[in-house]
């Protein structure tokens, strides 16, 4: 697998050898920040990373085998806003080195086989296109067929407006696919990272058997700006962060990115195919 440059909110400066944290503004050597998985060594701010980098961080070295690598969608509506949608798509494909906003495949995570999917927020905001929905549904189905637990790292603004009602229907498609995984008694671990909004959190991403989130990720159905415009309400402190939802029983665990792989490994060790006597009695 080729690793494209990570999409990161914190900008590299000068010759790219240093990195400025978008939260605390401190400057660090780029190699040091890459080593801390794009978590700021000073303030622990989790910078956004792309799908390729996410998979590099979670999959055991050399274990990732991509699924449906050539699968793309079409511009069903012939959509034009201020530019043609087809132009936006081509530009995003070239920049992110991805066919659309989701990368899927099988991998080993701390030695445990799993289906693994990662959204790419840099690709049109990680939005739900028909191609993303299809890649996701197929990844869930490949996992079912191969008896693999399914792990999905979501970073998505929600629907892709340019695909209109077809985008909306991807919420239904993903939930229909997950029904099959549940019928096969296979676990779905949903990992929410900054940001996970709208149609993505209101469908598959909220349906994890176990839901993890990175610290301080923005997660919610309606974005804060729209809520303020629509209702003039004051937003409470920490509104729509991982910690906010965790305190309300909606997220199981808030996990630092530097511990995420180890945490996943522990979960998969418990949730993987039953082997013990007591488990067999239930199987």
């Amino acid at each position: 697998m080729s690793i494209s440059p990570a999409y990161i909110r914190s900008k590299s400066v000068g010759d790219g050898s240093s990195f400025v944290c978008s939260a605390c503004k401190a400057t660090y050597p780029a190699a040091q920040v890459a080593g801390s998985l794009y978590v700021c060594p000073g303030c622990s701010h989790h910078a956004r990373i792309g799908a390729h980098e996410r998979i590099r961080q979670l999959a055991d070295k050399g274990s990732f085998q991509e699924w449906d690598e050539a699968l793309t969608g079409t511009d069903r509506l012939g959509f034009f806003d201020t530019r043609a949608y087809t132009e936006r798509l081509e530009e995003a494909r070239a920049r992110q080195q991805l066919p659309d906003a989701l990368l899927t495949g099988s991998a080993l995570i701390e030695g445990h086989p799993a289906g693994l999917a990662a959204f790419d927020f840099g690709f049109l905001g990680g939005s739900l296109s028909t191609a993303v929905g299809e890649r996701l549904a197929r990844a869930i189905e490949h996992s079912s067929a191969q008896r693999l637990p399914f792990v999905c790292v979501t970073s998505s603004g929600g629907a892709r407006m340019q695909e209109g009602v077809f985008s909306l229907m991807q919420m239904a498609k993903s939930v229909a696919a997950l029904h099959q995984l549940a019928e096969a008694n296979l676990p779905f671990i949903s990992i929410l990272v900054d940001p996970t909004m709208g149609g993505s959190i209101a469908s598959f991403a909220a349906l994890g058997d176990v839901i993890l989130a990175e610290p301080k990720a923005m997660i919610g159905f309606t974005g804060a700006r729209v809520i303020t415009q629509a209702t003039y309400e004051q937003l409470p402190a920490g509104f729509q962060t991982s910690e906010f939802h965790h305190a309300r029983g909606l997220i199981d665990r808030v996990v630092d990115r530097r511990e995420l792989k180890a945490d996943l490994g522990r979960l998969l060790a418990v949730l993987a195919a039953p082997t013990g006597e007591s488990d067999r009695a239930l199987a």
Binding site: G78, S203, G220, I227
Partner: protein, 278 residues
């Protein structure tokens, strides 16, 4: 209506026509769910509450009969008077509303009742309290409940079908859409704000999204477009109900007669869009 040309900005006339469709679907005199339920169904008995602490007025559930067939009913409800608009929250449900719908799907499954839904919502309520109580989780679980429902299920879009809030009661075996109703990924105003950074471009957003009901039939998302009386449903509630009722009877009979299998519903939503390369 002239469709928008693909890949270019719609002309002003096309945009105005798309916007007119949205305005008819939102007409203040349009029959709301309970207006049609009272005229189309027999013996409607409203039930209340999600059994978890709330009773959301924006979502109505109940039991009914239609020519002898027992039914479970779930509907988005808008208000007409100032008081009722507040109580119904303009048809925008909180998590309690979606959990109330889930309760209805559970009840219908246990008692083997076919379900009919009536959809007329701008969308799920975009407020702080809704987020605090898990709006996204409530909608996701309702999508799951619909796809697990073991009995026949018919959805009717009667007005606005806004976003995830509409989808929460749309994932049926058969979907009917009134002639001037629409289903959209976002309201045209919200889409315009996102796409053009200008809510004033709502007419162009409506055209670009191709919101007209007839497209839903072409795309296989709807199975039937229900004509409205001349001038639109808002001019004649009884006339609208007279057209809708026999079509409900026929559709429900088709669904209950054909050796029902909920796996077909899941396959429908899994395979809805089949055009992929690679």
């Amino acid at each position: 209506m002239t469709p928008a040309e693909p890949g270019v900005r719609a002309g002003e006339e096309v945009a105005a026509a798309a916007w007119a469709h949205v305005e008819v679907s939102r007409h203040p005199d349009r029959p709301y769910a309970l207006d049609l339920i009272q005229r189309c169904l027999d013996d409607f008995i409203e039930l209340h509450g999600d059994r978890q602490g709330g009773d959301d007025g924006a979502m109505v559930i109940g039991l009914a009969r239609l020519e002898g067939q027992r039914l479970a009913v779930v509907a988005n409800q808008k208000g007409r008077t100032l008081e009722e608009r507040g109580r119904r929250n303009f048809g925008m449900a909180h998590p309690e509303g979606y959990r109330k719908a889930q309760r209805l799907f559970t009840l219908a499954g246990r008692l083997k009742l076919p379900v009919v839904s009536f959809i007329d919502t701008p969308g799920a309520y975009p407020g702080v309290a809704a987020e605090e109580r898990g709006q996204a989780w409530a909608i996701a679980q309702t999508l799951e409940a619909q796809l697990a429902l073991p009995t026949p299920y018919l959805a009717v879009v009667i007005g606005e079908g806004g976003s995830g809030g509409a989808l929460a009661t749309l994932l049926a075996d058969s979907v009917m859409v009134l002639e001037h109703a629409f289903l959209s990924v976002a309201s045209p105003e919200a889409a315009a704000a996102i796409l053009f950074r200008d809510a004033g471009q709502k007419q162009h957003a409506a055209a670009a999204l191709r919101l007209e009901a007839s497209n839903l039939l072409e795309w296989g998302i709807a199975d039937e477009i229900v004509p409205e009386p001349p001038g639109g449903a808002h001019t004649d509630w009884d006339g609208t109900a007279a057209i809708l009722r026999p079509r409900l009877v026929t559709r429900i009979k088709q669904l209950t007669d054909r050796g029902f299998d909920p796996a077909r519903r899941r396959a429908r939503y899994r395979q809805l869009d089949g055009l992929f390369e690679g």
